[in-house]
Structure formats: C-alpha cells, structure tokens
C-alpha cells in the first residue's frame, strides 16, 4: 500500500488526542498505554471482550505488583493428566539475558510457556524522579542498551511535550538517523541469532560480523557503539558533525549491499526457510486483541508503524516503505525484518541527502496530554514504544513506559502453545524480546 493511501484515512482515528491517550495511560502495570490503532478498534467493535479481560489483568497485576519475579502474561490454566511444569531459568541456556520460562508439558510438546520477568529489575524509572532531564535521559539510555536511541527519543519527546519545549529541526533529524541505524543493528542481530539457532554457521557468522560493523560505525560517528550520549539534551557531548555524516554516507552503501547478498542466500536456502516456516505462529486476531506491536504485528498482516502514524519530523517528509506479511509465523517476522533493514537503509540515505541547514525555527513539541504531562511515541526496532513523562522546570516528576517487549510477551507465549521445545530459540529470537525492557 502506498503512503498516500494511508494519508487518506481519517486522521483523528489515530491521533493521540489527550482524552484518548490518557485512557491508555496508567502509571503502573504492563497493560498500561495500550495501542489505539484501527485494527484493534475494529476487533473490539465486533463485540469481543476487550482482551485481556479486566479481571484477568487485575489478578495478574496483584500477583506482579511490587512482588517480583512475576508473570509477563496473565495466568491461564492448562491441566491434564501427566503434565508437569519445569522452570527454565533465570539463567537459561542460550538466552543471554536473565529471566525465567515456566513450561507446562507432558514430554516433548509445550502445553504452556509462561515468561517470568523481574529478575533484573533495576528500578530505573522510579529513580528518575527529581532528576534534571539530561541526567534522567542518561539512565533511560541504560534501561535497554541495545535500543537506547529509541528509548531516549521517546522519552525526550514526552518530556518536551510535557514542558512545551521546541526542538531544533536538526535535532529531530539526528534522532531519526540514530534510530534507523539502531534499527538496522537490531534487526541484523535478531536475524543472526535466528540463523545461529538454525545452525547456519557461515551465514550467521557473516550476519553477526555485519552487526559488529554497524556497531563500529555507530561508535565512529557518534562516539559510542550503542549511541549512549548521542541524543542527550543540553549540549550533548557526542554530536553528529559533517565529518560524521560523510563517514556514514560512505560506509552505508557497502553495508547495505553486503546485507542484500547475505540475506538473498538465506531466503534461497530451503533448509533455513523450512525450519522457521510455521514456527510459533501468531494469529492476526490474537495479535490485535492483545495489542502486539512492531514486526510481530506487521507479520500478521496489520501494517501499523508509528513512523507513519505519529506525525513527527522528519518522518513526515520522507518516503518510507511499510513492509508487512500475512502468516504471522517466525518466517513472516524474519521477512518483515529483512525488508525493514532495506527500508531503513533507504531512510538513512534520504536523511543524509536532505540534511537540513542549521538555524530556522524550532519544531513545536506535541501538545501535552495534561498540564506538565506528555506522551512520546516512537517505532522502536521491536515496535511501538510509549513514554509518559511528567516534568516541570527541567526536572522529572514521574515516568511510565510501555515498551514493545511488554506488549509482545503474551504473543510469544501463545505462539509457543503446542510447539515442540526445540522451537524455543527460533520463536524467542523472532520476537526481538528484551528482558531489560520489561525489568526496568
């Protein structure tokens, strides 16, 4: 579908108006900040209960609350003769982060898989109260380091909206550039992990090498391999200058070509495609009802992307292809990611080509949702990321967030039902889930 077709849809349906946004905001709880996209509305309009049902959420929240570790999916009951539950984790084989998976099984088949989070909660968000904006942003970067640019961009947008601060156009372009670079890194990394799980040794090594090249590029251009400090407010130390942009422009073309050659081979490889086809499928309806986001959602045929839905500079001025797939399985998620890497390379090219001249009036921040309270919303590599910030006089009062991992854990859990345990790694990696994002 072309961009203009999207533009023709009634804008107010997607707009983040104050009352609408606040309805989705709750300071605590993982189901806070739900999506407000059309597909979800239409499912709700069919008379299906607003899922997750309120009582389930309440029970689940009680169970989680301040007590940790806690379930990342509301409880369900799977019982049967001869089933047993085994806990996998919190230090689990092949998952580099700490978190637990409770698996109900009677042998080979997984009847239910429940991710349990909270092992690495660092209580970052509560610790931000009272801090100046720049100091808070520094900690937001370290909430989930591999997606730092998206988190800082969403956080800053929310803080700016809360305080009505304008932002120089160039700053917004820099944010987009950093985010697209990091999107490429994350997608390439996820693809490499899936290739690794499929024992595609040469191909996965090559993919990881490409990811490392992107990290080096980020380090070279922004002074930090994970872009910490690249987007900080108030005279950030790590600026993108003309030399940086030149270096970037020169380095991108060969990397993009490398990626094309590499992933053409993967998608030609029957063994690889067979292994992930049909693995951990997520039905469209389920995805919509549970508020799945990002490649997980787009892989089941819902082409929602904040970059097109939330009107912010510079995305409003750029051409952005919006890939989506239909089947909702690991292959579909891989295909979406592969196409998104391409589209991000294209976006970077456009950004560098049309880099705005210095000066000019700053862009206005989005109107606050309440006095002193703003929302910031960006499309992180794994999907819609929302920050809800209360700030006054340059200081933070409270911060809440709904991250893509929060939204997608249930879908991973559902997709694993009836799977064999050997599917675990393909399934897990294909969602791009990060414990650090939920354990904050």
């Amino acid at each position: 579908m072309t961009r203009s077709a999207w533009r023709e849809e009634p804008a107010d349906r997607f707009a983040l108006t104050p009352d609408r946004a606040l309805a989705y905001v709750a300071p605590e709880g993982a189901f806070a900040l739900y999506n407000d996209f059309a597909a979800r509305d239409s499912v709700l309009a069919t008379g299906l209960a607003p899922v997750p049902p309120a009582e389930v959420v309440a029970a689940w929240r009680d169970q989680g609350g301040e007590r940790r570790p806690h379930r990342l999916v509301p409880p369900d009951t799977v019982e049967g003769y001869g089933t047993f539950t085994f806990p996998y984790g919190p230090i689990s084989m092949g998952v580099p982060e700490s978190g637990r998976f409770d698996v109900v099984t009677y042998g080979e088949r997984v009847l239910e898989l429940t991710p349990i989070g909270g092992y690495k909660a660092r209580r970052t968000l509560p610790s931000l109260a009272g801090r100046p904006l720049a100091d808070a942003a520094l900690r937001i970067e370290r909430l989930a380091g591999n997606v730092a640019a998206a988190h800082v961009a969403a956080f800053l947008a929310a803080a700016e909206s809360a305080q009505g601060t304008g932002v120089p156009t160039r700053e917004l372009w820099t944010r987009a550039l950093a985010q697209e670079l990091q999107r490429i890194y994350n997608h390439v990394h996820v693809l490499g992990r899936i290739a690794e799980a499929a024992s595609q040794n040469v191909g996965s090594a090559e993919t990881h090498a490409l990811a490392e090249q992107i990290l080096r590029l980020q380090g070279h251009v922004f002074g930090h391999r994970w872009l910490f400090g690249a987007l900080l407010p108030g005279g950030p130390p790590r600026r993108l200058d003309l030399d940086g942009r030149r270096a970037l422009a020169a380095a991108l073309a060969p990397r993009s070509k490398e990626f094309e050659e590499l992933w053409e081979l993967f998608l030609d490889s029957r063994t690889f495609v067979d292994r992930i086809q049909g693995t951990c499928p997520v039905a469209r309806e389920l995805a919509v009802r549970w508020g799945a986001v990002g490649p997980t959602l787009r892989a089941c045929g819902v082409p929602w992307d904040d970059r097109l839905r939330v009107p912010v500079v510079p995305y409003t001025d750029l051409f952005l292809a919006l890939p989506h797939e239909r089947d909702g399985d690991a292959l579909a998620r891989v295909l979406v990611r592969v196409q998104e890497v391409r589209s991000s390379f294209l976006l970077l090219e456009q950004l560098l080509d049309r880099w705005p001249a210095d000066g000019g009036a700053p862009e206005e921040a989005a109107p606050p949702v309440a006095p002193g309270r703003g929302l910031g919303r960006v499309e992180a590599p794994s999907g819609d990321l929302v920050y809800d910030v209360r700030a006054r006089d340059g200081r933070i009062e409270a911060v809440a967030a709904r991250t893509p991992s929060d939204a997608n854990w249930p879908l991973f859990s559902f997709g694993m039902r009836d799977a064999v345990f050997t599917d675990f790694h393909f399934a897990f990696e294909s969602f791009g889930l990060v414990f650090a994002e939920t354990d904050r």
């Binding site: 940790r68 570790p69 919190p90 230090i91 084989m93 092949g94 580099p96 982060e97 700490s98 909270g118 092992y119 690495k120 909660a121 660092r122 209580r123 970052t124 509560p126 610790s127 100091d135 520094l138 900690r139 370290r142 909430l143 989930a144 380091g145 591999n146 730092a148 990394h189 595609q200 040469v202 090594a205 090559e206 990881h208 090498a209 990811a211 490392e212 090249q213 990290l215 080096r216 380090g219 070279h220 002074g223 930090h224 391999r225 994970w226 910490f228 400090g229 005279g235 130390p237 790590r238 490398e258 050659e261 590499l262 081979l265 030609d268 490889s269 990060v434 414990f435 650090a436 354990d439």
Partner: protein, 245 residues
C-alpha cells in the same frame, strides 16, 4: 545452490590480530579509554560537578564508577587511559591523575590450561554488556582462534563473566552458578554495573557491587566495555596475555 563459503571469501572479513598485534583504531572505540586529566595536578572543579555518577574526586577518577558519558571531556578531561585496563582489585581502578595502570600484575590462572570455557551470567544488565560479550565470538574477533569458547552450563565453565548490577533476585542464581563451576575457576566483572552499580547505583533492591557475592579476579571498566577489553581480560586470567606492561 548458494555458496556461503564463496560469498564469505569474497567479502573478505578481517579478523582481529589481537593480541599478537595491538588493537586497531576500528577495534577501539573512544569509550574504551578512561577519561583523565592530560597532566598531573588537581582535577578541574567543573569536571567534578558535572559527573553524573560522582566518579571524579579532587585527585583521582574512579574508572570503576565511570559510565563513559563523556560529559567531563568538555571540562578539561581527555580519554587518556590505556585500552587494556583490567585490574585485579577494584581499588586499582581509582587512578591518580595522569597515572597509568601498573602492568598486569595478577598471577595468571595458569592451571586453566590452553583453552577456556566461558559462562555468561546477567545479574541485572541493560543488555549492551551481554551483547558486547557475545560479540567476541563474531568473526571480527573470533575468540575461538584464541581457544575461548562459550559454554551453556556452569559445570563446564572455567570463567564466569558477570554483567549487570546485582539485583536481590539474582544473588542466589549467581551463587549457584559459581558453586556449580569446577575448580580452578575465575570470575570477571564486566562493566561499571557489577563493579560499582554504574548508572543504577543507589536504587533500592540492588547490591552496590559483586563484593561479598562471588570473588572477582578481574574488573573490566566501561559502559559497556568494548569486545577487545573483554578479550584482554579473558586472556589475562588464562595467563596468555602478551601485551607489554
């Protein structure tokens, strides 16, 4: 039929020659060097007040606390430290102005033999350190060429790499992982988080460091440290570090 090997050869990936040759510019990001003053003397007051984690004192910078945010670089400090800054005691990371880390003094765990198996434990990280650790396996560093392999079980591990700030929830799992390792064993703390709490220092429910949890043999400062620094620490504990003091 696609030819992976042919393609790989054609792309010509350059594996690091470290430690036979010094780390190259591309392998050493700016953040690999600890900030310090260009010359001896008291540290500038502006730098002290601007540091978000209180790493700068009047006479010394605590590299174990430094999260490499680069703020002090606008106030008279420079990235001056050596790339290979892994030390045996956390106190050694408090570098007096202008001083360099003393040449690697720790007796190597020679009994670890030639190849070592490494187990990664995350006790509360932001995920960047995890990924930098995994990074040493990619073809650009190729840890396997140095006989360094990842293992999926602490029972097969010689070295425990700990990333993240220790949360109460991870204290027990960490201890159990350490106890499951056969002797001789070694622990490396990766990044500011396990050394000093890093950016999360002082938050409730967190331990300030690995102190009293497991004995640490090597501290690698940074936020996160670069793969070369992690390689350096691994080579040091296995007694195969050829870098010059």
């Amino acid at each position: 039929m696609p030819s992976w090997i042919g393609q790989a050869a054609h792309r010509g990936i350059l594996t690091s020659r470290y430690p036979r040759a010094p780390a190259t510019e591309a392998e050493v990001p700016m953040t690999a060097r600890a900030p310090g003053p260009p010359a001896a003397g008291p540290l500038p007051a502006a730098a002290i007040s601007v540091c978000p984690v209180g790493a700068i004192g009047e006479r010394a910078v605590d590299q174990g606390r430094c999260i490499r945010c680069a703020r002090c670089l606008a106030h008279g400090l420079q990235p001056v430290g050596p790339v290979e800054l892994t030390v045996a005691r956390a106190e050694a990371l408090v570098a007096p102005p202008g001083a360099r880390d003393p040449p690697a003094p720790a007796p190597p765990l020679a009994s670890l033999g030639r190849s070592i198996h490494v187990f990664l434990v995350d006790v509360g990280s932001c995920n960047a350190c995890n990924l930098e650790v995994l990074g040493i396996a990619n073809p650009l560093y190729d840890a396997a060429r140095l006989g360094i392999f990842f293992t999926n079980s602490p029972r097969h591990a010689d070295v425990l790499l700990v990333v993240g700030v220790p949360t109460e929830e991870m204290v027990e799992p960490l201890r159990r992982a350490y106890e499951a390792m056969p002797a001789p064993k070694s622990v490396i703390a990766i990044g500011a988080c396990p050394i000093s709490g890093g950016a999360f220092r002082g938050n409730p429910g967190l331990r300030p460091s690995l102190d009293g949890l497991v004995p640490v043999d090597r501290f690698v400062p940074g936020c996160p440290p670069a793969p070369i620094q992690i390689l350096d620490a691994l080579l040091t504990v296995s007694g195969r570090n050829r870098r010059e003091g």
